[in-house]
């Protein structure tokens, strides 16, 4: 094996190890491509997410086949509902892929949630919603900004297939229409940096 190939292998192995332990990674757009990882560019192009690409048929369905328990998540149904609501709020152009989508707000999510439940909003709803949003943020299904109360779809949604998207399109039609988003004014780059630091 040539030196170059060995280096290439090592480079891939390093990124793979990172992705395998931490999930999708946000990296500088200048990072060279890594085999097996799909690049999901952030809407403003400032960064790129590396998401592992699994061959079709190698997803979570395999766990069922092996009778192995899936990765546990707290309040799985509630969390899945919030994810569905966020898809309805953030995936505005339904003919385009779900990634990157647009930014949605907490107000939208709350409104759709109450609409789905078919009753006026209750005080306990907000706790459930915020909890689910944080859980989904931690697993990169959503990008949830706690301070601005804004949400975007996470890089993992890039793994949804065309069939998944068709199902979701249908689901979005069944959910109540979200009100128009009222976004908070764009944060300045300095603030953004502070935000990131405080996140870590």
């Amino acid at each position: 094996m040539s030196t170059e190939a060995v280096e290439r292998r090592l480079y891939n192995a390093m990124w793979w190890a990172k992705v395998q332990s931490a999930g999708p990674l946000e990296v500088d757009p200048d990072t060279p491509a890594v085999a097996g990882l799909t690049r999901a560019a952030a809407p403003d192009g400032s960064s790129v997410w590396l998401v592992p690409t699994l061959p079709s048929g190698a997803g979570h369905g395999v766990l069922d086949e092996l009778d192995a328990p899936p990765v546990a998540v707290e309040q799985p149904n509630e969390t899945a509902r919030i994810l569905a609501i966020c898809v309805a709020c953030c995936w505005t152009d339904r003919s385009a892929p779900a990634w990157p989508g647009s930014t949605g707000t907490l107000a939208q999510v709350r409104s759709v949630y109450a609409g789905m439940r078919g009753r006026p909003e209750q005080s306990s709803d907000l706790t459930l919603i915020i909890g689910s949003l944080r859980r989904l943020h931690a697993t990169h299904w959503l990008l949830w900004d706690d301070k601005a109360a804004e949400v975007r779809l996470g890089p993992r949604v890039i793994t949804w297939t065309a069939a998944d998207l068709t199902t979701l399109r249908d689901l979005c039609r069944h959910l109540p229409e979200p009100p128009a988003a009222v976004l908070s004014p764009q944060v300045s780059p300095v603030d953004e940096q502070e935000l990131e630091e405080s996140d870590e």
Partner: protein, 396 residues
């Protein structure tokens, strides 16, 4: 006469070797070794003889040398081996205690062991190499080629038959256990085809034998394909990968050290452990959420109130009433024999009777069916034997 005697002697020698070879297979006359531990015992005995050198061993010495095994097992195996000539007396005289072992059973034993470990695939590869070697030998004759082809044909027939029978008759678990029959089949077929090519090039007159070999190979390939198809179909997309049962994978992943596990995963990309939200789970979650949350739904109402379809029970009741009224024809009561005769044959009569009984049993209908003791017998009637009774309106 001389020639015949010589022949007989050669035959006897062959027979002796065969007896020795099959000694390890036979626990007693006609019985085969079914337990691999017995092979171990045999090997221990033969090992002891190898150690003993030219002096040989007595039965007691042999059991002492094999004390790792139960005494009676060793004695029994010793007897069996002696019976089949694998172990013989050092000098053939009465009361000779010392024995010697022949080497052929040991060779057979090694062969059996390898067969049991590798399922005979290795041997088959070697056999194919040997056959290729012998048919390409410049001194080989057409007869050698024909014999070679014949042997290979039989081997592949047996292999293909076994697999085909397994595919058609056995469970998936059995099929998976016997999957080694399908392993490396491409290499085997390739090697066999090489022999086939060599033979056909050298002795074109053997084309008939070659055709049967080709057919055997094709049958084997088909059987492999069928078996693989069944395994894949039954086992899902992933479990058939190694043709191993799922427990094997689980045991491996639990029992391996980090180094081994890392080596397996080297070059494999997988996602970090994360909960999965497929579109389907989201749809289901939203559905259940909607149901639990919404206010109580009004029960479904018939669209048109006026001509609402009656329930099946009501329809049945009205049908029975109509039938009862038809039978009564305005009278307060009617004789059953009359009803039956009116119906004509028994097939119709029993249907009428069934409906009258149903009317009798119905809670909301005021009819009753009362049987009496008499019986009407009339060979000319449609139903010659009829119990007398009365069907009547109940007055409340």
């Amino acid at each position: 006469m001389d020639a015949t005697l010589l022949d007989a002697e050669a035959d006897a020698a062959v027979l002796r070797v065969y007896r020795q070879v099959f000694a390890v297979l036979a626990r007693e006359a006609g019985a085969m070794i079914v337990d691999p531990d017995l092979l171990d015992a045999d090997q221990a005995i033969l090992d002891a003889f190898a150690e003993a050198g030219s002096d040989g061993l007595t039965v007691e010495q042999a059991t002492l040398a094999c004390r790792a095994y139960p005494h009676d097992v060793i004695v029994r195996r010793f007897e069996v081996l002696r019976q089949y000539g694998a172990i013989t007396k050092l000098v053939d005289r009465p009361n000779e205690l010392r024995h010697r072992a022949a080497f052929a059973p040991y060779v057979m034993l090694m062969f059996l062991r390898r067969m049991s470990v590798q399922g005979g695939q290795g041997e088959l590869h070697q056999l194919l190499t040997l056959e290729a070697h012998s048919v390409s030998d410049p001194q080989a004759t057409a007869d050698d080629g024909s014999a070679s082809i014949g042997r290979l044909t039989k081997v592949f027939r047996l292999l293909g038959n076994e697999l085909a029978i397994l595919v058609s008759t056995s469970t998936t678990a059995q099929l998976r256990e016997n999957a080694q029959l399908a392993w490396g089949n491409e290499r085997l077929i390739e090697q066999a085809e090489k022999v086939h090519r060599l033979v056909l090039d050298r002795w074109p007159e053997l084309h008939r034998d070659c055709t049967s070999l080709r057919m055997a190979l094709a049958a084997y390939a088909d059987a492999v394909q069928l078996a693989a198809g069944r395994l894949v179909e039954r086992a899902g997309t992933t479990r058939a990968l190694g043709l191993l049962p799922i427990e094997t994978w689980l045991t491996f992943s639990r029992g391996s050290d980090p180094g081994t596990l890392a080596a397996v995963l080297d070059g494999l990309l997988f996602d970090a452990a994360a909960p999965d939200f497929s579109a389907q789970t989201m749809v289901e979650a939203v559905e259940t959420g909607r149901r639990s949350g919404t206010a109580r739904m009004a029960p479904p109402r018939p669209t048109a109130d006026a001509d609402a379809p009656e329930s099946a029970a009501a329809t049945d009741r009205e049908d029975l009433r109509a039938e009862a009224e038809r039978v009564l024809a305005g009278r307060p009561s009617v004789d059953i024999v009359e009803v039956i005769d009116e119906a004509g044959d028994w097939i119709t009569a029993r249907r009428v009777l069934a409906e009258l009984t149903a009317a009798h049993l119905h809670d909301e209908l005021d009819y009753e069916l009362v049987w009496s003791d008499g019986m009407r017998i009339d060979p000319t009637a449609g139903t010659p034997w009829a119990t007398e009774g009365v069907f009547r309106r109940v007055v409340r």
